[in-house]
Amino acid sequence: MDGSSVELSPRKNSKLVIYLLGAVLPVGALLLWQVFGQLGYISTMLFPTPATIFGAFIQLTTSGLLMEHFQISVTRMVIGFLIGGGLGLLFGIVVGLSKPVEKALDPTVQMIRMIPHLAVAPLFILWLGIGEESKVLLIAKGAFFPLYINTYLGIRSVDNKLFEVARTLGFNRWKLVRLLVIPSAVPNLLLGLRLSLGVSWVGLVVAELMAATSGIGYLMSDARQFNNTPVVFVGIAIFAVVGVFTDTVVRLLEKWLLRWKDSYQG
């Protein structure tokens, strides 16, 4: 063995140990859950054992039911997020760049923001029925505000000293936006993206639990009516896994886009 690999291996090991450390708690909890469930210490009616839940998951997957509802949910989520997030980004940029537009639009937007996100859900259903439109609208409404506010804040956080540099370098308005304002706003923009994704996810769950005939949320509320607890747990697990997955994607994007940043990494 040469020197370099000897030096490297302890590092690799410690990294693995850290990962394993994070797994101790959930794996331990699952094991205890399984054992106590089998021994009859906890109600398998309310807390079906992990093995039962996994069985339900396999059954739903093989029957194709899960994939069908999952696709419907993801489609709603993507459409709603693109509409709401896209508009939030656009409005954030315009309001951030122009003082008159800010004066004209921001008070109204802030007023609408103050309405609790889910309080309008019944109204949307009244207006648009329980079809796709009301769900997409609810998701879009949730996605709009975090991206709007953070884009606007990001644009307004441009360092005045760099602004002066841009003037001495003779940047015109377009170059100023492209080369100074947008890059300065990226950290805030990514934060807004993450928050928007989180809120739209909640919107999706609520919309599907309240009134739907398809989607993962419908699968769950349907299962609840028949006391089919394992399926409810499968639904919860899917929401959790997909939520973590999207958040990780944005975080990786963040890491790559903000590699120039010099801040405390913990």
């Binding site: 760099l162 001495t168 940047f171 120039w260």
Partner: protein
């Protein structure tokens, strides 16, 4: 006035605050020839930065006349390179992209010029580094290269080495003189360090405060490189110090 690049006649500047008026500059007269290295020195509050901002076109609110190559200056631009006290680099761009800034680094002409400048400011090997990875002196050299890429008629430096330690500062002074010799760029260098003013300038403009006006202009006819310990250097240094003492005596008389 034949080939003077900067000509300033009876220039005055007043700051208006709520009720007060503060005269920052009064009746400044200064002609700078192409290729000169002017150092501007004075106690704080003498308006040296204000003067530099006016020449840069960052401040257009003044009385009197200021001409750059015989023309009025309507605003800031690339013909007047400006180096701030801090490097002020774009943190999300690496060294070569910071130098290129709004110019396309993939353009072979820009590429060639950027490489040349990186060599000139002695940053070879750091092309891909981000500003956070650079020391203060290195970052300031990037800022200088960024200004030089635009072929400015005049390079304005506002206490550019003020925040650096003594060793780095001495090194940066050498680098700047080297650039001046090679590029023949006209330099206007504001400082509050007497040694720095004598070491770099071929004329030292001494300003006095309240209101900012020219106390004296001291020519420095010493060969470059200059030795700070040489007798002739110390002679000029003493001359500047004497002017400073006159200013101080005048101030305390009030």
């Amino acid at each position: 006035m034949s080939n003077s690049i900067v000509s300033i006649n009876q220039l005055s500047k007043t700051f208006h605050t709520n009720k007060d008026q503060v005269q920052a500059l009064r009746n400044i007269n200064l002609d700078i020839q192409e290729g000169e290295f002017i150092t501007v020195i004075g106690p704080s509050g003498c308006g040296k930065s204000t003067l530099l901002k006016i020449i840069a076109g960052l401040d257009l609110d003044y009385q009197g006349e200021f001409l750059l190559e015989g023309k009025n200056v309507k605003g800031p631009g690339i013909d007047k390179g400006y180096i701030f006290q801090e490097p002020r680099l774009f943190p999300w761009l690496n060294v070569e992209r910071n130098i290129a800034a709004d110019l396309n680094i993939r353009d072979p002409k820009v590429r060639e010029k950027v490489d040349e400048l990186i060599n000139l400011v002695k940053l070879t090997g750091f092309e891909k580094s981000y500003p956070r990875e650079l020391s203060g002196g290195m970052a300031q050299r990037v800022a200088i290269a960024r200004a030089l890429l635009r072929n400015p008629k005049v390079l304005l430096l506002d206490e550019p080495f003020g925040a650096l330690d003594a060793f780095t500062r001495a090194h940066m002074q050498e680098v700047l003189l080297d650039i001046w010799k090679k590029n023949k760029t006209t330099m206007i260098f504001v400082t509050h360090d007497i040694d720095e003013a004598v070491f770099l300038g071929n004329r030292i403009v001494i300003l006095k405060p309240r209101p900012g006006s020219i106390q004296d202009i001291v020519p420095v006819v010493l060969p470059i490189p200059r030795k700070k310990t040489s007798e002739s250097f110390q002679e000029i240094r003493l001359q500047v110090v004497n002017e400073f003492e006159k200013i101080e005596a005048l101030q305390s008389a009030f």
